[in-house]
Amino acid sequence: MALLETHEIEVFYGDFQAVFGIDVSVEEGETVAIIGANGAGKSSFLNALAGITPSKPDAITLDGKPVGGTPAYEMVKKGIALVPEGRKLYPSLTVEENLLIGADGKTVDRGWNLDEIYRLFPILKERAKQMSTTLSGGQQQQVSIGRALMANPKVLLCDEISLGLAPTIVKDVYAAVKEIQARGTTVLLVEQDLSAALGAADRVYCFMEGRVTLTGRPDELTKDQIQHAYFGMSDA
């Protein structure tokens, strides 16, 4: 039994369907990346896992228990924490407050606390008393990841954590992901940056138009396969 599974999950925004029956499974300790073009349904899928968009109870299981449709503020307490697209820090809170408030969603101690976050992202300690809006994009991304880790989740969901960052900063962010992974935290990434995703993930799912078009280990997949799955054509 995988730690986190989806079963034919569908996601709707009003009348618009973004995800059409997707099955994804994430084993404990694994890092899984979901890749795909804009509008492939990746973020919708992740938002459903985080409880921000509704889904059917049986569509998501955590440790075999149905958790679909749980509101986001309960989902984090069950062990699914989200690093949202665009970081979504609280602008009226300082860096440290942004991190501390993350612990509001903590129910089990898995070793993540303020000291550990500062050890992972030392610069944040220096910036602790600053307002979160005064940080650079990369630092803000660190705060967002740190805030989610403060909940001590079973699964960390990361939505486009490379978005808007310079390539060297993306490398740093993914180095941190490796470390988080090494400490035993399960990670599910949504990523448009192919090389970052393939570099970090144990397994990859490719989404297109709300469906899974390809799955496998990064080293097994060929460029052609990915291109086909990504863009829906065999040769560009």
């Binding site: 985080a50 986001a72 503020y73 984090v76 949202p84 609280y90 809170l93 407050e97 408030i101 509001d104």
Partner: protein, 285 residues
């Protein structure tokens, strides 16, 4: 000298307006809600305190302390069971629901207490005054101003020094994304409304002790509160105190022309400020 006196009196009156405004400012800050029944709830609180002290023969201050938790519960329940239903809809729904509440509260008070004007009796302190540097200041206006300082200072401490304050600010920043750290925004909204109602109780106590009131005076309190909040800059609590003071001074200056000009002068200064600085005088933007 007489102008200095007028300004001092206006400043003290501003304390009362800041008390009216603090609760409105708080809920606007947290949930972007303008409670059109705010003034009527202030009047309701004054009646509750008055009725409690006349039934139990307890001093009004004790009656206030008994009433405050009940008003917290009323505000909490109002948000939880009625106003939370409006938070996801467009602007119209919360405005109209609070407008309906206004009619209900006004007429409920009319039915319960009649249209006669009443006052919370505090005894000799009502007329007591002290003279500093030749300016006579009423003890009650001074206490009101002090209460405004305590309330606003207290709310600021709550917002910036407590875990609850952190949650209130995060929810204010984004009700949707406050959820990802385990905050249920609806609970936070209900707590914020409860706190607003405690402030309403303080405002009601001082309003009722300083002047006669009847069930119809609520809307005017709402407008004063609103003007203080907007002059001060939306969402800034100390700004709200500043806004209240400007309004109080404007009204006292207007009143020196003729009593009829008191309220008018306040409104006109408010409108003038909107023309010049629509974001308020003390806003950060």
């Amino acid at each position: 000298m007489s102008y200095v006196n007028t300004i001092i009196q206006g400043l003290l009156l501003g304390g009362l307006y800041a008390l009216y405004a603090a609760g409105l400012s708080l809920i606007f800050g947290v949930m972007r809600l303008v409670n059109l029944a705010h003034g009527d709830f202030i009047v309701l609180a004054a009646y509750v305190i008055l009725a409690l002290s006349s039934f139990t023969f307890l001093p009004p201050v004790v009656a206030f302390m008994i009433a405050a938790p009940f008003l917290f519960a009323l505000g909490w329940a109002l948000q939880k069971y009625i106003l939370n239903r409006t938070v996801q809809s467009n602007l119209l729904v919360p405005l109209l629901v609070t407008f309906g509440l206004q009619i209900i509260v006004q007429n409920g008070l009319l039915e319960a207490f009649s249209a006669d004007s009443v006052r919370i009796q505090l005894g000799p302190i009502e007329t007591a005054s002290i003279t500093i540097a030749g300016i006579s200041m009423g003890v009650m206006p001074l206490l009101t101003f002090l209460a405004a300082l305590v309330v606003i200072g207290g709310l600021n401490a709550l917002f910036y020094r407590t875990k609850l304050g952190r949650r209130l600010r995060a929810t204010s920043d984004s009700p949707v994304f406050a959820q990802i750290v385990g905050i249920n925004p609806r609970n936070i909204f209900a707590i914020a409304m409860g706190i607003s109602f405690v402030v309403i109780a303080v405002a009601g106590f001082f309003m009722g002790a300083r002047a006669n009131f009847d069930p119809s005076v609520g809307p005017a309190r709402l407008l004063f509160a609103f003007e203080a909040v907007v002059i001060g800059g939306l969402g800034s609590l100390w700004g709200t105190l500043g806004g209240g003071i400007i309004l109080g001074v404007a009204q006292e200056l207007g009143a020196t022309i003729s009593p009829q000009y008191q309220v008018l002068a306040g409104h006109l200064v408010f409108l003038l400020i909107i023309l010049v600085r629509p974001n308020g005088l003390f806003s950060k933007q």
